[in-house]
Amino acid sequence: MKRRSQLAVLIAALLPASVLANSIEGTVLNNQGKVVANATVEVEGSDVKVATDENGKFVIVNLKDGLKELHVVAPGYAHLHRDITVSGDENQSITFNLKRSPIEVIDIEATPIHMSAMESASPVSVLSGEQLRRQQAATLGDSLEKLPGVNTNFHGKVASTPIIRGLSGPRVLITQNGLDVSDVSRVGPDHSVASEASTAQQIEVLRGPATLFYGSGAIGGVVNVVDNRVPTDSTTRGEWNLEHNSVDNQKVASFNATTGTDSFAFYADAFWREADDYEIPVAAELDHDDHEEHSGDYTVENSNEESDGFTVGASYLMDQGFIGIAIEQFNRQYGIPGHTHGGEEEEHSEEESVYADLEQTKVQLLSEYNLDNEWLNKINLRVGHTDYKHAEIENSLVGTTFKNETNEFRVDLMHNPFSEWNGGLSFHYKQSDVEAQGEEAFTPPSQTQSFAVALMEERHFGDFLVQLGGRVERVTIDADNALLPNIDAHAHDEEEADEHDHDHEESTAITRVFDVEHEFTPVSLSAGLVWDFTPSYNLGLSVSRSERAPSASELLSFGAHIGTGTYEVGALFDVDKDGHFGLSEQAIDLETANNIDLTFRKTQGDIGFIFNAFYNQVDNYYYQIDTGLYAESGHSHGDEDGHDHGDEHDHSSELPVYLFKTDDVILHGFEAQVAWQLTDEFKVDLFSDYVRARLKDGGDLPRTPPLRFGTEFSYQTEKLSAHLHVTRYQEQDRTAPEETATDGYTMLDASVSYDLSVLNQDVSLYLRGTNLTDTEARVHSSFLKNIAPRPGRSFALGIRGYF
């Protein structure tokens, strides 16, 4: 894109002025009247985009008559909108003055309409550039956890996934370049996300309902990982990185590169990472009694990881757009801490350690085409095919294999402005086959298909920006072999006395089999308003009603899920007084979220801030309740016969039975972000977030992140950059039944990097320290909080180069 726009500038400069009919030329300046080079000026609702030269000048040619909305973007500055009317044979000259914004404003690519942290009605965050590189971790959850409103479910560092405003799992959609990442991370917290941050360009987070753009599965938010795998331009550039981390002896290497000719662009990236079990400041188990003197370091056993992957892509560049395809291979092997079965961990942990072997092949075809048509001005096409498989391996035997094969097709038709409305229609088809086989196959094979039509529009009315959208979806879930085994679920409180005479009268039990077909029609509507009520400030309001079809695992599960240490039973089933499971009498219904979001921002100046408050009422919220019953995991480990089981009956292979039920739930909270640019070099950031997740009829939801606040001091010169980051996590004592409170803690991180030029390359050396006080930090939102605290003090040393 850049190359083409530079070309446009060049051509424009060569043409005599008289030919520059219907053109706009201008200069972009900053507050001090200095020119801003490399600012992007784009015409909203079209693909016209040019960059300013070193004198801050730009020219846009060949415009049609009419009102044009120009959008000026430059790093470090607030975005600027200006309406210009173009009429025949007129040559306009304009000067734009950009104001500084201490909060970086980056447009997101996840949505067909224009959105950014400062300008849209609903809240978004973007992690990109140096900030992304500083915060990237082995897992997506840990990479994003410093963003306001986003927490990690910290699954022993190996499989952490993001929690957005207290919601995760099937309510947070993870996408890669706008297409579903299609792994099984939404099904279990011990399943890793099949996406990599070290080769990504930016990661976008849509907080709150985003079903409008993505449908069911985005009711709590969306994380979109963007990379340049299908290159949109052929400017040769690239990035490489080598890093070593002390706490887990982690070694990372990654690169990405783009190059090409005038009409073809090529892209490649690859990464490799290897890490040992990570060290922790205290014993892993929370209630570890320390009689025996522990010598040496504590580690979280089985938290090692090894992954690698590569992507190659190519695209054909046209004057009107591009079309390209990319293929990715992603492999990851990681230990699953806590995935031991039953007690006796001390003795057996080594031989029983379970690890997951994940493999994914992903093909994406992306295209953007700008039309010169009366109705449409742009078509965005995204097509994806993903083949995912992961095997959980125990004693070198495959225990369970999860598979997900997904095909997705999405086309956005963006229309020409209709009485100043910009927007478009989106058609979206997705089909996935999910299958689990083996001991932990707690969900039967199922096929989910969805088809959706969505309309998104926005328009400026003076100081108001109005954003409207609606989406209708048809979701079908078919499972032709949903199983209901006759499990002998029993309570434990009636003590051991009668437990022993389990009469085995019938040596065979009956498993009922159902052919289940669900059909859902979720509808989402949303309206947003941004009011620039006074210069530099705006107020945003977003109201939405979103519906979500429950996922196959929430409906159809029946079996032991070792990852969560529970026996899961889907909402299709219910239990009677005697502990017998049958079909539920309750109708299966859509989950509906009614969400109000209020945003107050200061968009420019030396101080910038964003305050968000939200209130989200979710009716028919699917969640798991503890039935108080226990069932056999069916997962015996062939305890060696040698063992003398002193006490005969141990519950080691029994799991508590959790049943999916629905209830009305209210989530409310806030996010706050303040940035103060003290001098050109010094900047202070403050942030805080909080969510309260409760049942309407009283009671709290489990694993809700605690109140959090923190600050970052940054010092930045041309060569040196240094950051000091302090985050305080408060105690969480609003707990669900069966859940325990978690102590608060303070994390102190610091990093320093120095840029130098070696062999014509920009190279930066960096040193980063995390958890500098070596504090014990247990993550309330983690399933493993009692057995896997955060890593102890760690120093990472790395080198990064750009060309």
């Binding site: 294999t401 209709f418 009485s419 409305w421 309309l455 609606g470 209708v472 072999n481 199983l483 085994p485 002998d488 437990e499 022993h500 389990h502 085995h504 019938e506 040596s507 065979t508 039990a509 009956i510 498993t511 009922r512 089999v513 159902f514 052919d515 289940v516 077909e517 669900h518 059909e519 859902f520 029609t521 979720p522 509808v523 509507l525 519906e547 079809a549 299709l572 079909l583 109708a587 299966i588 219904d589 859509l590 056999e632 069916g634 015996s636 062939g638 305890d639 016969d641 089981h645 005969e648 009956h649 141990d650 080691s652 292979s653």
Partner: protein, 467 residues
Amino acid sequence: MTKLFKLKLIALAISSTLITACGDAETNIVEKNPIEVPDDHDHGDGDDHDHGDEYTIDSLGRLVVLANDSNTASFFDLDDNELLDTFTLTNDSNTLSSSPDFRYAVIASRAQDYLGFIDGGLWREDHGEHLHDYKQGPAASSFELTSGSRPTHLVKHDGKLAIFYDGDAESGTVASVEVLTDNDITSATAALPGITYDINMHGVAEPRGEHLLSTIRRDDAESTSVAKILPDQVGVYHFHDGEYELEQTLELTCPDLHGAAQNHDYVIFGCSDGVLLAHQHDDEYEAEKIANIAAVGDLRIGTIYGHENSESFIGVASGHGGGPAVIVSIDPENAEMEELEWQLADGASAISYSFSANGEHFLVLDSLGFLNVLEAHAHDDHTHWELAGQVDITEEDVTTMPEGMKFSMTVAQNGQFAYVADPIAQHVVQVHLEDLEIEGELELTFPPAAITWLGIAEEEEEHDHEH
């Protein structure tokens, strides 16, 4: 334009409300036949080993029946003769067999270069401290083999299936072999180990542990075969590092090689001048030839049957294209060939041959509707096969057999039953091989073309090996 757009917005708003009104959720549940599962609960009381049986399933197994009048395969539960499921097959002309561990039905279509698999739903896993049986509904498998040309001879041995693809001289495709296990089918293994030749041939491969004995076709000038498409040599291929490597070529030739079988010690190949024996000594095979006896005459032994536990093999000598057959027994240990005392009655032709599950009986189903059950008797180190009895498996007039149809037979691997399908009566009878009686009947609603048994084979250890 503006007006039009506003109208559209209103229309959208209205339609949205309508959709919201019916924006709904619908669930349809159909209960299917339940699955019987063994009680999985061991409550840790004492020793797991006492409960070995809790994990195993006692079932007669399942029967797959190909229909003659449509390209479907029907799966029956042999415990209650109930139809479990019917699958429509991809191709028209199919042969039916079972996977090496009898979990899957193997549907082969030679002309279409196609092999497909259907999960019979009954299988056993070895969980270390116990054997764990599973019982589910039959299900089509997405696994299929389509890369080889003309899959012809399918040979099973000890959990492995070797598929010999003949290739095709006309289209210039070469012969190849693929070896697979039930596990490969379950996990849809993409790249199966095997052999690729550089010429086509009508050959055969015998999988044997980490060895694969497979035929070799030499240059036509060197080949001793009369029909050059038939190979005349046997190679010993050894599996390591994920592939089969030719380690030995047997020094004796076998002109016009066709048919092969193996038992515990020997692999035997049929040749126009006799049979070729390959005697295994660890990684080496010693070749020996037994010349045809006078009774074979102008015929040649083109089909051989063997059983792991049977010391002698059965060979069928016939002319090209059928005709009268002479049945011989082959004793590799003593390098002897002997004509069976019992031969087919006049006017009868053999339709199907098979060893019984334990190898103690040899079955010959003939065109007149008799199942001839032969039994091995040992006399001074020699094995003689004698007729134990005949079972008349049909009450129908066999001359009314519709054109292109015939009886078919399969042997259950978990007991003493054989099953014989009768297209005239449209049923399958269950024959007890010790009692020589028909003990059950499975009614069909269509004429059967072929049948095969699926299920959990009886463990060999349970047999009495003291001979």
